[in-house]
Symmetry: D2
Subunit: 343 residues, 4 copies
């Protein structure tokens, strides 16, 4: 059930609808929009009788939603969501670049990367303190010590910190030290973790699973939102196919598909999406050209010494070249008013 | 590093090797075998000097292991592992049948299924109290109440309970009420959860992820074993491909591949592996013929009323027919001494 | 349009319906069955008015077919088709084993394999004279000379010859020298070739393409049948997935799916389906257990010297072991009257 | 074997090397380059002794090639190949746009599309007279009549005609009426057809198969070139994955991969690559941004009436918008001298 308020509905009209929803034992999700507010209802086991709402003051319409997803949909919120991450935003009129090393290794490594990232003009820094590694014997990340280094990067360079959490303890720590909680591809359907981050008030960067369909990806976002956290940023990071020339196959068609169905921003990750240094820049350009809201890029001052995923990390020089190229394309898209097509 | 003891090594020889490993700051994993004991070493950041061990009494060999996995490998334990689950075993000379409904719904539903399963001769009962559902609005399972019903099934029918946990709280509860902790396909690379179940002393049924390679699957088992829990049963449950005639594509070639590399038992799940009622029996027969150690099968007294995955559940009659057919094939394999080829 | 004749319809009733179909400019496909004859109509651009037929003598029903396929479907022919290949059949009450080397190399190699195949009791011999190789620089087969060797095998050992054609010239030659024309996976959607073999009167073994959906596979058979050749045997030979432990992933669920929809026999190819010697026997057993009508197996007197696909060829001893095992399973299926379930 | 000539080698030096290759019973493939000529050798069953060549006048080096492909490789020709198609080129310093309807239907439909394509500035026209359709009952194309309409388009609008052939007869006809022979995805490993077009002297547009690896794709091109036709243009048209939001998954990472290994131009097909009208423009932009040499686009004056693939065809207005946008991106890439990175 989706209750669409009139454009002149008052705060108290909205509050009254919320109260009725709560009294029925369900949960209201209120989404203010440019033209009007809509209120999603979740928690109802079956259809709700629309007559509960349609004659209330301020209510324009009460619509039965038969689709699997409610909160992510454009029915609930026709305008694109702009997500605040620290002191910057993702999904607005600026290309969001999140750059940094795969893993936090040392203060020197992190600061050297952060300096280059800040200098480029990017506003977000990435770096993992908890690393989901295929082998139990591979480097598992520096944990809380790593997060402290990242917090120091924010203080010193003004960059907003995006970093992964793999479990509840990790979420608590990232909430404390970071600005955006990343949920990795392998945890995209870790539903307990999704519910847990849904209860925080930090924005969440949700990566698409290696073999997730679009529906599964969107419903993972819906899991987070159903708990009350509406600040979800989607991220395409490559899917698994039979191909071997790249580590994964970037599925850029998911960008227009997401934009058609949802109000959430979506960024792309050409570093994990290709796993090959020489492919990162071309696929980053493609990601911006297809209409993504941003990029997440691995940069390492010395890729050949990286403890994790060195093969795909850009050098600081390569990163700088990428930054220039993708922004040139982004500007063209804006200038030619392709924005219409991207919406 | 793998330390192979002589066949006449004493308990104190073994203990001494373990002490040296611990003194070096690493972790010994002692695996007694039919002919000899082997001790795996984990926790070492780099290569270990074999001279620490090779001249000790009772030591036959100290072998550097360059492969990614140690504890699952036949190098460590050439004989097949037979895993004790409650009062029965998986991996020995009997076909293990785990049957029951997808989800625990009501006492009546569960008991009706359990009666048929017990009557058939099967020794294991399945049923989910925590359900990983793609949509946050789908039935999420009955939680601890469901587990209590399952514990009652064990008391009344003598069946051993296999049931899924999705997070640490769930693991604690399954440890309390069940006999075997199932880790679902979507959590196969939830590394925090793998470590957590590695610290329990209940056997673990580990399902292959929807797009997991064999290496990733085996390393997920290695994660559990590296924490000290060696009772891992693998389960092929279908992978994701372009095909649409079945819900997933069962990859039976993984059975001989697993048997070639590891000492762990492997079972197959034709219910999730096909998602189609009419395919379950044929694929169950195929799973036994390919050499699997067992089957996990969804049975529901009334599939068309199931709250979850009804399309793939067998009726009690269909289950009984399947039970007869797969055991006939299993006996033929044994009789013709195909066991050799299966080992 | 499908015209179902009454069980007591006469030859002249049938002929009259055929004439009307031809007069309308379409093509009749008459399929005699155990209980009744059905006549498929193809070539019609849109729906046909059933009143043309429903009042004719001997006509039981005139059914509009909205499905994409007509001639392969059980609507047209509810009984399973038994295909005559040389002096034997595929699809009847006997497991069909087609064995032999990947490629015809020398008289000695072929005769040595043929002797073992004939001795085992198998009735079909395989061997390629035209080899579809990924590289233009790899061995391309011995051409007509190879076919002459195969024809000699038939004369000497009484085996029926199944061999691949890659183009029209090849089809003409296989028609001359062989008993069954194999269309390889890479040509499954070579529609010109399908039409061409549809005009021959030799049975066709049609292999599923590496990434063919079930619908595409069945429509490829429909292409052949629409030209008037109804003797099509389907073959599952493994699909392409992300997996690397086997060369392909055998999709055994396609066997019950095919049996549900069509009257055509289906066999499986565990040699190409796995590409690994040690997997061939387990997957052959699985193929028989799932309900396939036969197997196609690569056997080579000396696999390590094979010019093509040696890694998957069985030795003569391994082949003999496989033959015993799969027949034991086949007999059990028959004995337990699983045949009902397989139909 | 690859023989690299000195930069000052004479025509007669080159001729002499060719003669020796021919005398040895092999085939020379001479590729003139900007700085030097290289001569590939094919047809040799094993390694060739380099001493046959290395002391000849004009020879700089004789290199053993262990890779599977020779003629497509940058070792043979370090500069990018610019392919002449009719009166224009693909692979040079201009974005090649090939546009037109999926299938030739009527003179009016074709001319209406051709007018818009010519007006946009594009130099190539597409349209199928032979259509590879999954179902034998679907529209199969207008055949030679369709080709005559296309030839008329060339006469009237000066557009160069790219059109598919599915068999030898079709190749002969396309050679007569068209400018570039398209080999469709389903025929990418129709090796007989590849050899046949290798013997024509018309350029070939080779589409990647639905599940072709990069190696298979490149070796298909090598098949054509090994017959002496070096004018091959590669085309990425989407691969088959588990995804359902688009008809296929465009794998843009294949573009930098091809450019790293070969001297051949590569274009992308966002129409078949997505199968969704609203995705064509975004993915076309991405294809240009990733560095492709061109695009092939389906345009139809009235997509909803198309006999084939209407769901993905652009209207004339949408095509015009796409044309502007992709050229704006192409110019930016050139301006910023990204060309270096693209090479």
């Amino acid at each position: 059930m989706l209750i669409v308020m009139k454009s002149d509905a008052t705060e108290s009209d909205i509050r009254r609808v919320e109260e009725i929803i709560e009294k029925l034992g369900y949960r209201p999700h209120t989404m203010p929009g440019a033209a009007r507010t809509a209120i999603g209802v979740t928690g109802n086991p079956g259809a709700i009788d629309p007559t509960h709402f349609e004659n209330l003051p301020g209510v324009a319409d009460a619509i039965r939603v038969t689709k699997q997803y409610k909160l992510i949909s454009k029915d609930l919120r026709p305008e694109k969501s702009v997500i605040k991450v620290g002191n910057a935003t993702i999904g607005g009129n600026e290309l969001a670049i999140i750059a940094g090393p795969c893993a936090v290794e040392t203060v020197e490594q992190v600061f050297s990367a952060a300096e280059a990232v800040a200098k480029s003009g990017a506003k977000f820094f990435r770096g993992g303190a908890f690393k989901p590694r295929t082998s139990p014997y591979a480097f598992q990340g520096k944990g809380e010590d790593g997060l402290k280094i990242l917090a120091e990067v924010r203080n010193q360079f003004g960059l907003n910190i995006v970093t992964e959490a793999m479990d509840e303890r990790g979420v608590d720590l990232v909430e404390k030290y970071g600005d955006c909680i990343q949920i990795g591809a392998r945890n995209m359907q870790n539903f307990s973790l999704l519910k847990y981050v849904g209860q925080t008030r930090k924005p969440v960067l949700l990566k698409r699973g290696l073999s997730a369909t679009l529906d599964e990806f969107l419903l993972a976002a819906e899991y987070i939102m159903a708990e009350g956290n509406y600040d979800v940023i989607l991220c395409e990071r490559g899917i698994r196919t039979f191909g071997t020339h790249a580590r994964n196959t970037m599925d850029l068609s998911v960008v227009p598909a997401v934009q058609k169905l949802t109000h959430l921003p979506i960024i792309v990750d050409p570093s994990h999406g290709t796993g090959r240094n020489y492919m990162v820049n071309p696929l980053a350009r493609a990601g911006v050209a297809v209409g993504a809201d941003g990029l997440i890029i691995e940069v390492h001052p010395c890729p050949e010494e990286a403890l994790c995923d060195g093969a795909q990390a850009l050098t600081l020089e390569q990163y700088s070249e990428l930054y220039t190229q993708v922004n040139a394309i982004y500007e063209i898209l804006a200038k030619e008013e392709m924005a219409i097509a991207l919406a």
